[in-house]
């Protein structure tokens, strides 16, 4: 199959996903609202994992602070809500821009360092941001802030359907962006940084600029993932918005799916996210978190190429 056909297939799939999503949310299929709640959660992880992978997978810079970006996305929605009861469609771009700026600033301050220092800096950043939110009374400080979502919205009916559709579109957007980066000059530049930063620099690749672009895009997507959270949960407080689970999952999902390709975080997030949603209502215990940890460790030690990599290797071997 040629690249052009693949490309057409991809865009066809994107169109189909959005269309099906639109139909699902606008027509009354009698579908249970619970599926929209659960689906929203999984899709939110698709965005986060894909965003993480742009830096972690393509460029080799580990971000431990995903929860920080996610939370700032949610908090910028709280600010907009407090200011002017802004609609969701305004919250999302604002959250994205705020987080893109934070990403840019972090990148600017720390990207001249070795990758490891960058990772530690992101960890510290998340905690500094959390401390700021805890002490900022306007967004509720430590006691949290309420964001009341409208009950219904036309033409979707239940507001949750609308949230689901928005998140579905955001997830699709994230995947499209990741795929575009992967195939562009930018992506090749990032890969060169991952493989050998010094060599890339010597080869004339503008490493600092590429790194800044990657942190900005990644920050933007994480903020976008967090923006609807405020309306989804209706109540935002620092401990839950900065929950470590977001950081862990943002790393574990691409690692399990495969970090070198756009499909990796997608597969990882769908599998792990769904598994967690199921476990939530079945096992209901810490075992469910333990599984995430164990699976992560097993994958990084035994199958560093992830599920997508494994499948691909298997296919290549099959073809020979």
């Amino acid at each position: 199959m040629t690249a052009a056909v693949k490309n057409r297939l991809f865009w066809g799939a994107v169109g189909a996903v959005v269309l099906v999503g639109f139909l699902l949310t606008t027509t009354d299929t009698g579908a249970n609202p619970f599926w929209f709640f659960a689906g929203y959660f999984v899709l939110q992880y698709v965005v986060l994992a894909t965003a993480w992978n742009i830096m972690g997978g393509y460029m080799g810079y580990v971000n431990f602070g995903s929860a920080g970006f996610f939370a700032i996305g949610a908090y910028s929605s709280v600010v907009l809500y407090n200011l002017m009861k802004a609609p969701l469609l305004l919250m999302i771009p604002v959250a994205g821009v705020v987080c893109a700026l934070i990403g840019l600033a972090t990148g600017y301050l720390t990207l001249r360092l070795r990758g490891v220092f960058f990772a530690i800096a992101t960890l510290a950043l998340a905690i500094v941001l959390e401390t700021l939110m805890v002490n900022w009374e306007y967004v509720g400080g430590a006691s949290g802030a309420y964001v009341l979502r409208p009950r219904t919205i036309e033409p979707f009916g239940d507001y949750v359907r609308y949230l689901f559709l928005v998140m579905l579109i955001l997830a699709t957007l994230a995947v499209v962006v990741a795929r575009w980066i992967e195939r562009s000059k930018l992506g090749r530049g990032l890969n060169a940084i991952r493989d050998d930063e010094l060599a890339a620099e010597c080869a004339g690749i503008p490493t600092l600029r590429l790194k800044l672009v990657a942190t900005t895009v990644s920050g933007f997507l994480m903020g976008v993932a967090g923006a609807p959270f405020a309306l989804y949960v209706g109540y935002v407080e620092p401990a839950s918005a900065f929950n470590l689970a977001y950081a862990v999952n943002a790393i574990a999902m691409p690692m399990i799916g495969g970090t070198t390709m756009w499909a990796g975080p997608l597969v990882g997030a769908l599998l792990l996210g769904t598994a967690q949603q199921v476990a939530n209502v079945t096992i209901s215990s810490e075992l469910n978190l333990l599984i995430v940890g164990v699976v992560l460790v097993l994958f990084v030690t035994l199958a560093p190429e992830g599920i997508v990599g494994l499948v691909r290797k298997h296919l290549v071997r099959g073809r020979k």
Partner: protein
């Protein structure tokens, strides 16, 4: 075979499989027949930060289930609790309640434990007009003003200020009355609100606030904080804290020899048997809020029978072995719901809500009447003083003499030892 084709096949296959697993739930979602049990759904913190409390609440709720069913159920039907672990994570709550309502088709719902886990359920509850008995959330309904919300925690109709009113009233009754107060609290939801209410009460009482700071939860060393407070020489010290920092504050106050006349107020955790055992004599003299203690004035009908069952059930489960503080109320909020169902002979949420707004309920924590905002019509936030604690045996804390009720006056069981420096 094309790589991409298989790849997308794989992911859609995974999604389908997942959907199939989740879909299993829908098959038994048929309309309830008369013989089916009445399902009561809720989320509860069984893991995560509040799991200790959540597990003890669940034990109490299961005792209610058993008790009701042994007595023939409600409206001639058995009751059945349906619950999921919210992991102390508010983000899981909206999903859990939609699952309970739409997949499990529960008839009634109650809240999980704690403000953070009650609030995320409110939009769903309001949207569907459900009656929602809630377990220990502070001032959740202030923003929503939802008529069918009922809070079992006896904070009172103005929860923020009623919470610490007793502390300040008691202080102002002393001669000479105190002039200065220090306020300190943890950077988290409940503590911040408790201190906010205390600030208002302090102003109303005409006290000068000489120290007003918050600290991050799990600070390693509380001595600098207590020293900074000591340096302002406040007459009384109000603390809003969570279990780990309550322990830290008490230890630091004893180590430094905090010199003040009244110390305590809103310290969560000092009510739990394990923490009382860990602190022992260090608790003496502290005046803190509580909701139920084994005082002679608080011997409501059924409470001792309930506690006996609870203490047996809780043994070896790593939860609070005495069950005074939260479990009694976890049992009561289901009692309220059950009594409302029996009285209205209905599972209709509008009727239940209307009844709960009007009626007075008999529970193991006494008579309950709700105010229009869903809080208790009159506050029963107790103020107790720890007295004569000499050892760390569990029995010590079952004696009425070790925790004396000072406020409200109607429930008083002993005398305040004042000032703190001499009471400890």
């Amino acid at each position: 075979m094309d790589v991409l084709g298989r790849r997308s096949l794989l992911s859609s296959g995974a999604a389908l499989a997942a959907a199939a697993v989740l879909g299993l739930g829908t098959f038994h979602g048929t309309a309830a027949r008369a013989a089916d049990p009445i399902k009561v759904g809720f989320s509860m913190a069984l893991t995560g930060g509040l799991a200790g409390a959540g597990k003890s609440a669940l034990i109490a709720m299961q005792i209610w289930e058993k008790d009701v069913n042994a007595a023939g159920g409600l409206l001639g039907r058995q009751v059945q609790l349906v619950y999921y672990d919210d992991q102390t994570n508010p983000a899981t709550v909206p999903g859990i309640y939609t699952k309970l309502l739409d997949v499990d088709k529960v008839d009634l719902i109650v809240s999980g434990y704690g403000t953070n886990l009650i609030a995320p359920a409110m939009p769903i509850v309001i949207q569907r007009g459900l009656t929602f008995p809630a377990l220990f959330g502070l001032a959740v309904n202030e923003k929503f003003n939802y008529p069918n919300y009922f809070q079992i925690m006896p904070a009172g109709p103005k929860p923020l200020t009623d919470w610490s009113r007793g502390f300040f009233e008691l202080a102002m009754e002393q001669t000479p009355p105190p002039k200065t107060v220090a306020l300190v609290g943890a950077d988290a939801e409940f503590a911040r609100n408790a201190v906010k209410g205390a600030r208002e009460n302090a102003k109303n009482a005409g006290l000068e606030i000489v120290y007003d700071r918050s600290y991050p939860p799990r600070t390693a060393d509380y001595t600098p904080i207590v020293r900074a407070i000591q340096a302002r020489k406040p007459d009384i010290v109000f603390v809003g804290s969570y279990p780990p920092d309550s322990v830290g504050m008490v230890k630091a106050a004893v180590e430094i020899g905090l010199e003040t006349k009244l110390f305590g107020g809103g310290m969560v955790g000092l009510q739990y048997a394990t923490i009382m055992q860990a602190l022992g004599a260090k608790l003496n003299g502290i005046v803190n809020y509580d909701f139920w203690v084994p005082a002679p004035t608080l011997q409501f009908e059924g409470v001792n029978e309930f506690l006996k069952k609870y203490q047996t059930a809780a043994m070896g489960k790593g939860v609070d072995p005495l069950g005074y503080y939260l479990p009694t109320y976890a049992y009561s909020y289901l009692q309220v719901l059950g009594e409302a169902v029996t009285a209205t002979k209905s599972l209709d949420h509008a009727k239940l809500g209307a009844h709960m707004r009007e009626a007075t309920f008999e529970t193991v924590v006494g008579k309950i009447k709700f105010a229009p905002n869903g809080e208790w019509a009159t506050s029963r936030t107790l103020l107790v003083q720890y007295q004569d604690i000499a050892d760390t045996n569990l029995e010590t804390f079952t004696k009425p003499s070790t925790r004396v009720v000072l406020y409200p006056k109607a429930w008083q069981s002993g005398k305040l030892r004042y000032p703190y420096t001499e009471a400890r």
